[in-house]
C-alpha cells in the first residue's frame, strides 16, 4: 500500500471505485453570512486535469481547502477513492497541494523540503533517496539540492513546491493558482511543463485559476465557478463554444455583448430587436418572446469587410460601422469598429489581406447560427 505509515490506521480495507478519485457531495460552506461554497457536487476521474475557473471570491480556494481537509464543510461529504474523508484531518487524507505563494519551509533546503512528505510517512532511507532523485530530475532541479528557498528563483521555488506535492504520489494534487506569482514568460513555460508532468504521472490535478487562458491551455475539463456554485462544468471546448450562462459567456473568451429584446422565434432562430435593427440569433434556453435578452459573440466569430461589400446577405447578420482602430497582435489583429449608436465592438481576424484604413466605413457580418443568447 502506498500511503503507508502514519496514514495506515485510517485506511479501511476494501477495493476502491475504479475511476472516481474524488467525489464531492452537496458541499456547503458558510463564513458568517457569506456562502463560500453552495451545494457543490463534483466527481474527478483518474488521470484527469480539472480546472476550477472563477473570479476572485468565487470560492475556489475554499473548495480546495475542503478537499484537503483544512476546512470542514458545513454540509455534504468528501470521498477520496472509496473512503469517506469528510471528518479526517489533512494529514490522513494523502492529497498533495501546491500554493500560490509556494510556502516552502524557509529553514529547510530544497531537498529537505521535497522529502518532507516522505519523512512524515516514515519511508525508508533508500526509497526516500530514490524518490528524491526521481522528483529532482522530473522537475529539472539537479544541483539545487542544498539551496535554501531564499536562494532560489521564483520558478525554481515553484518547481520545488511541485516536487514536494508530487513526491509522495498522492491520490490527487490540488494546485491553487500556482503560477500567479510568476512573470508572464515563465508562466507560459510552466503551463506546458505542468501539463506534461500531469500526463506523465497520470495523476489527477485540480487546478484553481482565475485566468481563463491558463484553464483553457492546460486542462481537460473546466468548471466555471461563480458565487460558490458551478455555472457550467464540461469539456473545455464545450465551455468555450457553448457557454451555458451569460456569466460563462462573459468570463471565458472575449465576447461582444448586445442587449436587446426577443421578438419572435422562427425556423430555429430567434429574432432580436436591437437599436431599431433586427438580428437573427440562436434561440435562448426557455425562450420568452418579449423578454430582454443578451447576445454574446466571440471576437473571432465576427468578420469584417470594406463597406460596399459583395458578401451574400442570406443567412448572415450585418452591421455597418466605421473602423476606429486596429490593434496588431501578431497572428491576429483586433479591429475596433464604432457602430451607428456610438458603441464599439471588436473583431479578431488574421491581419493579412485586409488593408483597411482608419475611419473607413466597414461592414461587420457573421453567420446567424454563431454566438450564444441568454435571457437576462
Amino acid at each position: 500500500m502506498r500511503n503507508a505509515g502514519t496514514c495506515q490506521q485510517f485506511v479501511k480495507a476494501g477495493t476502491s471505485v475504479p475511476d472516481a478519485v474524488l467525489k464531492l457531495q452537496a458541499i456547503v460552506k458558510r463564513f458568517g453570512t457569506v456562502t463560500a461554497v453552495d451545494r457543490i457536487d463534483l466527481t474527478i476521474e483518474r488521470g484527469e486535469f480539472f480546472a476550477l475557473l472563477g473570479p476572485s471570491g468565487s470560492g475556489k480556494t475554499t473548495m480546495l481547502r475542503i478537499i484537503a481537509g483544512l476546512e470542514r464543510p458545513d454540509e455534504g461529504g468528501v470521498f477520496i477513492g472509496d473512503r469517506d474523508v469528510t471528518a479526517l484531518p489533512p494529514y490522513a487524507r494523502h492529497v498533495g497541494m501546491v500554493f500560490q505563494n509556494f510556502l516552502l519551509f524557509p529553514h529547510k533546503t530544497a531537498a529537505e523540503n521535497i522529502v518532507f512528505p516522505l519523512r512524515m510517512q516514515r519511508l525508508g532511507r533508500a526509497e526516500r533517496d530514490e524518490r528524491l532523485a526521481w522528483a529532482m530530475s522530473l522537475m529539472r532541479l539537479g544541483g539545487l539540492e542544498d539551496r535554501y528557498p531564499n536562494e532560489l528563483s521564483g520558478g525554481q521555488q515553484q518547481r520545488v513546491a511541485l516536487a514536494r506535492g508530487l513526491i509522495s504520489r498522492p491520490a490527487l494534487l490540488l494546485l491553487d493558482e500556482p503560477l500567479a506569482n510568476l512573470d508572464r514568460e515563465l508562466r507560459s513555460e510552466m503551463e506546458v511543463e505542468i501539463r506534461r508532468y500531469q500526463k506523465e504521472l497520470e495523476l489527477p490535478f485540480i487546478y484553481v485559476t482565475h485566468n481563463q487562458e491558463e484553464a483553457l491551455t492546460m486542462s481537460d475539463r473546466i468548471a466555471v465557478m461563480h458565487n460558490g456554485a458551478f455555472e457550467q462544468i464540461g469539456a473545455k471546448t464545450e465551455i468555450y463554444t457553448n457557454p451555458a450562462t451569460a456569466f460563462v459567456a462573459g468570463f471565458v473568451g472575449h465576447s461582444n455583448r448586445f442587449e436587446g429584446k426577443l421578438v419572435e422565434i422562427s425556423g430555429g432562430l430567434a429574432r432580436m430587436a436591437w437599436q431599431g435593427d433586427a438580428m437573427l440569433v440562436p434561440v435562448p434556453r426557455d425562450p420568452r418572446p418579449g423578454g430582454a435578452i443578451l447576445f454574446a459573440i466571440k471576437f473571432e466569430d465576427l468578420e469584417i469587410a470594406r463597406a460596399p461589400d459583395g458578401v451574400d446577405r442570406t443567412g448572415r447578420n450585418r452591421l455597418a460601422g466605421t473602423l476606429r482602430d486596429v490593434i496588431f497582435k501578431g497572428q491576429t489583429a483586433n479591429y475596433i469598429v464604432a457602430l451607428g449608436d456610438g458603441s464599439e465592438i471588436t473583431i479578431s481576424s488574421a491581419p493579412r489581406g485586409l488593408d483597411l484604413r482608419m475611419s473607413e466605413p466597414v461592414i461587420v457580418h457573421w453567420p446567424v447560427a454563431r454566438g450564444a443568447t441568454f435571457h437576462v
Binding site: 505509515g5 502514519t6 489533512p90 494529514y91 494523502h94 498533495g96 510556502l103 524557509p106 529553514h107
Partner: protein, 310 residues
C-alpha cells in the same frame, strides 16, 4: 601625466573626486550625528562602569577604603571559599530552573495570543506587561501577601481543610515562584514577537504533507521561532543569575544567591573589590550562557533570511 600640464580631463576628474570625497565626508558626518549619541551613551553608561568594575576587582579593600595595589586575592577568595561556590551554583540552578519553567509556560500563552488573539493581540500583549506597571518592590510585596503565613494561598488552603502550609514562604521555592512571576512576561513577549512574524500557513502545508500537529510543531514552529525563544531565555536567565532582591525578600536562608552576596559586599561589609570580582564573574557567566544559546542556533536553520555576517 606630466606636472604643470594638467589637462581638462584631469581637472574634471579631480573635481569629481573632490565632490565625491566631500559627499563621503557629509555621509560620515550624518552617520556620526545619528549613531554618535547612542554610541556615546553605551560607552559612558555601560562600558565605563564595566571597566571600573574589572579594575576594582584587581584592587584591595580595607576598612571601607579601596587601595590600588594590583592582586588576584579577590578571585582566589571567590573561587576558594565553599560558601561562594554554593551561592553561585544556587544562582545558576535557580536561573536555569526559572528559565525552563518560564519557557514551558510562556510558549502556550504566546502561541495562543499570536494565533487566536485576532484584533485583541496588542491588548493581550500589553496585559502581559501589566506587572511592570508597578515597581519590583511592590510586586515582591504582593507575592509576600500571596505566599506568606497568612497569605491568600494559605488562607485558601485552610478553607479547603488542607491547613496552612508553613513551608511556602521563605523557601527557595518561593524565591523561584517570585522570579517566575517577575520574568515570565519577558519570555512570553519575546516568543510572541517571534510568532507574530511566523507564517502559520506553513503548518497547514506540513499537515497536508502528513505531519500530525505535534510533529508539525517540532519540525516547523519550534525551529522557525528558535531565535525568539533564545532571546527570551537570555532575557530571563541573565537577570535571574544576578538576582538578589527576590531571594532576599522571599527566599529565606537557604536561597542566598551570589547576587545577594554581591550586594552585601557593596553594602554592609564594604568589600568593594571582592564585590567587583563577583560582578566580573557573573558577567562572564552570563556571557558564557549567551554563547551556549548562540551556538545551539544555526541561523539558516532558524529560517533567518537576512544578510549573514559570519
Amino acid at each position: 601625466m606630466a606636472r604643470g600640464s594638467v589637462s581638462k580631463g584631469g581637472l574634471g576628474t579631480s573635481a569629481m573626486t573632490g565632490i565625491r570625497s566631500s559627499l563621503a565626508r557629509r555621509g560620515q558626518f550624518r552617520f556620526a550625528c545619528l549613531a554618535g549619541p547612542g554610541a556615546l551613551f553605551i560607552v559612558v553608561a555601560l562600558l565605563l562602569p564595566l571597566l571600573a568594575i574589572v579594575v576594582f576587582s584587581f584592587w584591595r579593600t580595607e576598612s571601607y577604603e579601596l587601595y590600588a595595589d594590583w592582586n588576584l586575592d579577590n578571585y582566589r577568595v571567590l573561587l576558594g571559599e565553599p560558601a561562594y561556590r554554593i551561592f553561585f551554583l544556587r544562582s545558576l540552578a535557580m536561573a536555569a530552573a526559572v528559565s525552563f519553567v518560564c519557557l514551558v509556560f510562556a510558549w502556550p500563552i504566546a502561541y495562543f495570543i499570536a494565533k487566536h488573539g485576532g484584533r485583541y493581540r496588542l491588548l493581550l500583549v500589553l496585559l502581559l506587561a501589566a506587572p511592570f506597571f508597578t515597581g519590583v518592590i511592590l510586586r515582591i510585596t504582593a507575592l509576600q501577601g500571596l505566599l506568606g503565613p497568612i497569605g491568600l494561598v494559605n488562607m485558601a488552603l485552610a478553607e479547603l481543610g488542607i491547613g496552612p502550609v508553613g513551608m511556602l514562604m521563605y523557601t527557595p521555592l518561593a524565591a523561584g515562584l517570585g522570579l517566575f512571576y517577575l520574568f515570565v512576561p519577558f519570555m512570553a513577549t519575546a516568543i510572541y514577537l517571534s510568532l507574530a512574524n511566523f507564517n502559520f500557513e506553513l503548518l497547514e502545508v506540513a499537515k497536508i504533507n502528513g505531519a500530525r500537529p505535534w510533529r508539525a510543531f517540532v519540525e516547523i514552529t519550534w525551529p522557525l521561532n528558535a531565535i525568539g525563544t533564545a532571546i527570551g531565555l537570555v532575557l530571563v536567565f541573565i537577570p535571574c543569575l544576578a538576582s538578589a532582591l527576590t531571594q532576599r525578600f522571599l527566599g529565606g536562608p537557604n536561597a542566598t544567591s551570589l547576587g545577594m552576596s554581591l550586594a552585601q559586599q557593596f553594602g554592609e561589609t564594604g568589600t568593594w573589590a571582592l564585590g567587583s570580582a563577583m560582578g566580573v564573574f557573573l558577567f562572564l557567566a552570563s556571557l558564557a550562557g549567551i554563547l551556549v544559546v548562540r551556538r545551539t542556533i544555526d541561523l539558516k536553520r532558524a529560517g533567518f533570511t537576512g544578510a549573514l555576517g559570519a
